[in-house]
Each structure stands twice: as structure tokens, then as C-alpha cells.
Amino acid sequence: METFILTIITAATPLLIAAIGELVVERSGVLNLGVEGMMVMGAVSGFGAALLTGWPLLGLVAAILAGTLMALIFGVLTLTFAANQVATGLALTIFGLGLSGLVGESLVGLPGAKLQPLYLPFLTDIPHVGRILFGQDIVVYLSIALVAGVSYVLFRTRLGLIIRAIGNNHDSAHALGFDVVAARYACVAFGGACAGLAGGYLSLAYTPQWVENMTAGRGWIALALVVFASWWPWRLAVGAYLFGTVMILGLEAQARGIDLPPQALAALPYLMTILVLVLMSGTRILTRASAPANLGQPFIPDR
């Protein structure tokens, strides 16, 4: 049971991190569909850097940088040049999947450096709960801290109020003197950093190796999670852990030789994403109330 919960946490963490970044981006009124591309670049950069230096933490830094750089490409196109956000996000994903495949070609099959879990004497050794509470790697704790931090900043600080104002009505926010484009750049960069970190976690902790397309649609699931959470950070944590559980249950069922084709189990997270979108979007009260009103709309200040 303990191992089972541990694997769920490892599966849920990358989803949670990528989704919390995208939540901030969308709260500022920008729809970045390139999460998958930023994530996969984070995965390959993180793996490569950790392999080169032998230091997984440096891998995480590289992953964050890669995700941020990818996000900045998106920012230049959609924020400075007011390009269509849906199409640019798709381009980011196509580009990221291609580039990661290209630069990662020489890394395929190499044994990676694994991010080590925390060990606190006595605390980690507590039976049943010790490893769950005190024996995770730092990214797991960071993911929870990110949720708490984002929740606090968005709803308890002036900065969060500005971000939400820009997401709900960029014209009014602009008229009040806020720099819409600059704030959105910052949010998009944050989203990229999170997606990169999530990707790095995949190739450094979840499965410490590099495989082409190893994100396998997790970036898209993260996007759906933001809708599932109706743009509320803590609901996102619930959603990510729910999805993590489904993913692991699929693997578990396979290992126990349950009489279902492996492809059906592999398709389960994607089917569940569709189901979740249907359920959440069907209940208008949940989504309408908190969806940023200007989500996906380009903004060019007419001076």
C-alpha cells in the first residue's frame, strides 16, 4: 500500500506542476496550448544536463530554463506580435516534440541520473507514513509549495489581483495603467518554467531515462486539469492526484494480469480526460464563474 501511494505521488507530481503553471497563464488571460512541447523540452534538457554533470539538481535547473525559453518564443509571437494563441501553442508543441527528438537522439537508452529522495533519520523510518511524508524527492514538496504559493499570490496579494484583472478585462486593466503585456510575459514565463520542471521530473525521477515523446500527452492532460479545477489551485491538486491514481491503477491492473488488452488500459487516462471535460463543462456554474473572461484573446494597446 505504501509503495502504491508512493507511485501515485510520482505520477501526479508532473501533472500538478505543469498544470499549476498553466493555471497562472490562463488566469492572466493567455491560453498556451504548448505545455506538451515545453514539457518535452524540459525532459530532454534536464536529462542531458544531469547526465553531463552527474548532478540531477542541475538537470532540474536546465529543465526550468528550457521550458522558460520555449515559453518566451510563445510570448514573443502571441504577446508582442498578437498571433493566434491556439495556433501558436500548437506550433510550440510540434516544434518541441521535433527538437527534443533531434537533440535527444544521442541520449536514447543511456542510463540516467536519478533524483534521490529525501532521507531524514527517524522521521523517514516511521512505519507506513514515514516515506510518504518525509521520504519524497524535493520536487514533490516543491509542487505542494507551488500550489500553496500560487493560491496565496493569486487571491491574497495585490499582484494576484492585477493578474486576475488583466485576465478578466485587459482593456480596463490597461486603462488603469497596468502593463498588460509585461504582466502576461511574466505569467507565460512562469508557466514555461513549471512545464519545464514537470518535464524534467519525468526524465529524472518518474522514469530516469530519455525516450522520444516521453511526455505522452501529459501536457494536454495538464491543460484539461486546469478546466477540471475551474481555475482554482487547490482543486488542481485533487485533480492531479485523481489522474495519477488512474494512471497507476492502469499499470497495476496490467501487472496483475487483468484480462483487458494493455492498449485499453493505456488509453484510460485520455478517455478519462474527455469524461472529466464533459462533466465539468456540463456544469456551467463551475466553469462560467471562474473562467477568465479574456482567455485566449489577443491584446494590442491602441494608443
Binding site: G98, G217, L277
Partner: protein, 359 residues
């Protein structure tokens, strides 16, 4: 000095023509930089990538064959995107079309009459339409984002295909390879003389037909209004749900046709990998063609050239064919960036501006 965007009084027709060409030119320059970064002579690499694949007659035929599925799918996607309906799951609709069309040769082997090829094509279209209908239904009935549902269905379709060819549909005489039986020669698309087959004709017909529909048809008018002025479309009484249904069924059906067309020509049987990402490349084709079905016809050739160039560069230089995916992504970035020039002009603030006419 600061760079700002100024809205043009009306969209520039010149820029509408020039921006895709500018995007291609910028992609070639970026390509040279990428090749140089990989340690190749950029000029030689570019000529291998872009020119050599097009230097022989058979290779031009090859180009048209590669372009056919791209154009077929992109023509439908143009209408979707014009109407602000985001079908990004053409790859899944392609896969389901291929599966549905293969029903007859795999399961009904006793059906041995010429009409079978027509039935296979029809089933392919239906398969793609059914898969496209799901996101349309979920959008209309529940308001679920068609972007995410159509994309999720790509994965589902691919796993379904994988299960079929490894399980119930596997060729019993196939030495355990994950493949169905090979199609008989008469079950393939007829060719005209050389290697060009009927799929090319389908693509050209679809591109021209949909251009007419968009320009002259009532549905095309509804689509244009829905995309440009959603409120006006609502006041005019155009049904949003109807447009979502129409565009998804149309683009899904065309993607299904592209899928079965590939199976009935180049591939010749079902197997786990039937498409090198055609459904996603078709999105780039649609945008490079400026969301015009006829534009997609030309753009399809350009994107097909990146596939051929990738193969050529791999053979001649030993570069990974993944380079072509990178080029495709870069191209889409530039297309979207240059598109801005149609509606905006770049101005430098802080410089004295020359004004010949005032007012």
C-alpha cells in the same frame, strides 16, 4: 526608440500574398543556422534538403503523393479554423478512417467485386466522420473544449489501431508481425500511368470544391461570418451548433478519406504506424495556405517537400529525419508571426516620421 504595432485601416492584400513567402524564406535561413549548428555545410545541406528531392520526374510524383493526404485534411481544417472551430485531432480521424475502410479486406474476404474499392473509400469517410462527430457532440451538448477532446481522441484511436493489428485483426500467416493481411492489388487505388493515384485527384477536387463552397456557398458564408464576427452570426440566426457539426463532419470525413487513401496506396495494409504525423502537419498546411483550401493545395506541396527533404538529408548527410519536424514547427512560428503584417504595420516610435499626406 520602440517597436510598436499600428493597426492598418484595412488588411493589406499585398501582405496576404507575401507573408507566407516571407515565412518560408525565414524558415530557410533558420534551417541554414540549424544545419550549421549541427556541423554541416549549410549551403550543401539546404540544397540536399530542398532542391535535390525535387530534381527528377519520379520525385515530383513522389511529392504529389506525399502532398495528397496533407491537402485533403488541410482543406477541411481551413473551414474549421475559419469558423473558429478548433479540430486538432485530424490524426485520429485519419486513423479511424483507415481502420473503418479496412473492414472489408480484413473481415469480409469473400467480397470480391470491383465495387468494394468504392465501399472501402465510403467506409473510410464514415469512420473519420464518426470520430469527428464525437468532439462536435461533446462541444454542442456539454460545451467541452473541442481542442482537448479532439486531441485526446488521437491517442485513443492510435491505441485502438495498435490493439487491432496486434490482436483480432493480425494476419494469421504474418509470422506474428503486427500487421493485417496485405490488400489485393485490385483493392488499391487505381493509378494513372505512373505512380500517381486517385488520392491526388481527391485532394485537388476537395481543395477546389471547398474554395467554391467558402466563396459562394451559403454554408461557406455562414462559416466566414461566424469566424469574423461571431455576434453578427448570432444575430443573423446562423446556428453555432450547426457550424460546429458541419465543420467537424466535413473535416473528419476528409481526414478519414485521406487515411483510407494512404492504406489503399502507399501502405497496402494496416500496421501500428500508418502516418508520420500527417494530421498535425496538415494544421501547418492549413495555416501556410492562409486558411484557403486552394492555398492549402500549394502549401501541401511545400510541407510534403520537408518530408522528402528529411528523407534525402538522412540518406545523403546522415542527419536525423527529425530535422524535418523541427523545420515544420519553425515554419508555423514564422507563418503566425508574419501573419500579423496583414493587419498591422510595424512602426518605430521615437523616429521622426515622414508624412506626405495629412488627414
Amino acid at each position: 526608440m520602440q517597436l510598436i504595432l499600428e493597426r492598418r485601416a484595412e488588411p493589406s492584400r499585398l501582405m496576404a500574398l507575401l507573408s507566407p513567402l516571407l515565412a518560408i524564406a525565414l524558415t530557410v535561413v533558420t534551417g541554414a543556422i540549424i544545419f550549421a549548428a549541427l556541423g554541416f555545410n549549410p549551403l550543401r545541406a539546404l540544397s540536399v534538403f530542398f532542391i535535390e528531392p525535387l530534381s527528377a520526374r519520379w520525385s515530383l510524383e513522389h511529392l504529389a503523393l506525399k502532398a495528397a493526404p496533407l491537402v485533403l485534411m488541410a482543406a477541411g481544417l481551413c473551414l474549421c479554423y475559419r469558423a473558429n472551430v478548433w479540430n486538432i485531432g485530424a490524426e485520429g480521424q485519419f486513423t479511424m478512417g483507415a481502420i473503418a475502410g479496412s473492414l472489408i479486406p480484413v473481415l469480409l474476404t469473400q467480397w470480391q467485386f470491383p465495387m468494394v474499392t468504392v465501399l472501402m473509400l465510403a467506409l473510410g469517410i464514415i469512420g473519420g466522420m464518426v470520430w469527428g462527430a464525437i468532439p462536435a457532440l461533446l462541444k454542442n451538448r456539454f460545451g467541452a473544449s473541442e481542442i482537448l477532446t479532439s486531441l485526446m481522441l488521437v491517442y485513443v484511436a492510435q491505441y485502438f489501431l495498435d490493439w487491432l493489428v496486434r490482436g483480432p485483426w493480425r494476419d494469421p500467416q504474418g509470422y506474428n508481425f503486427p500487421k493485417t493481411v496485405s490488400f489485393d492489388d485490385w483493392q488499391l487505388l487505381p493509378t494513372f500511368g505512373g505512380t500517381l493515384h486517385l488520392g491526388v485527384a481527391f485532394a485537388i477536387t476537395a481543395a477546389i470544391g471547398l474554395t467554391f463552397l467558402l466563396a459562394k456557398g451559403m454554408k461557406g458564408y455562414e462559416i466566414r461570418v461566424a469566424g469574423l464576427a461571431p455576434k453578427a452570426a448570432r444575430f443573423a440566426g446562423f446556428s453555432r451548433q450547426g457550424i460546429v457539426w458541419f465543420t467537424f463532419l466535413l473535416s473528419g470525413g476528409l481526414a478519414g478519406l485521406a487515411g483510407i487513401g494512404e492504406i489503399m496506396s502507399t501502405v497496402g495494409q494496416l500496421q501500428p504506424a500508418i502516418s508520420p504525423g500527417y494530421g498535425f502537419t496538415a494544421i501547418i498546411v492549413a495555416f501556410l495556405g492562409r486558411l484557403n483550401p486552394v492555398g492549402a493545395l500549394i502549401a501541401g506541396l511545400a510541407l510534403a517537400a520537408t518530408y522528402l527533404g528529411g528523407e534525402e538529408a538522412q540518406a545523403a548527410l546522415g542527419v536525423s529525419e527529425k530535422v524535418s519536424r523541427v523545420f515544420q514547427g519553425v515554419l508555423l512560428f514564422y507563418i503566425l508571426g508574419c501573419d500579423m503584417l496583414v493587419n498591422y504595420r510595424i512602426a518605430l516610435r521615437g523616429l521622426p516620421r515622414l508624412r506626405l499626406k495629412t488627414g
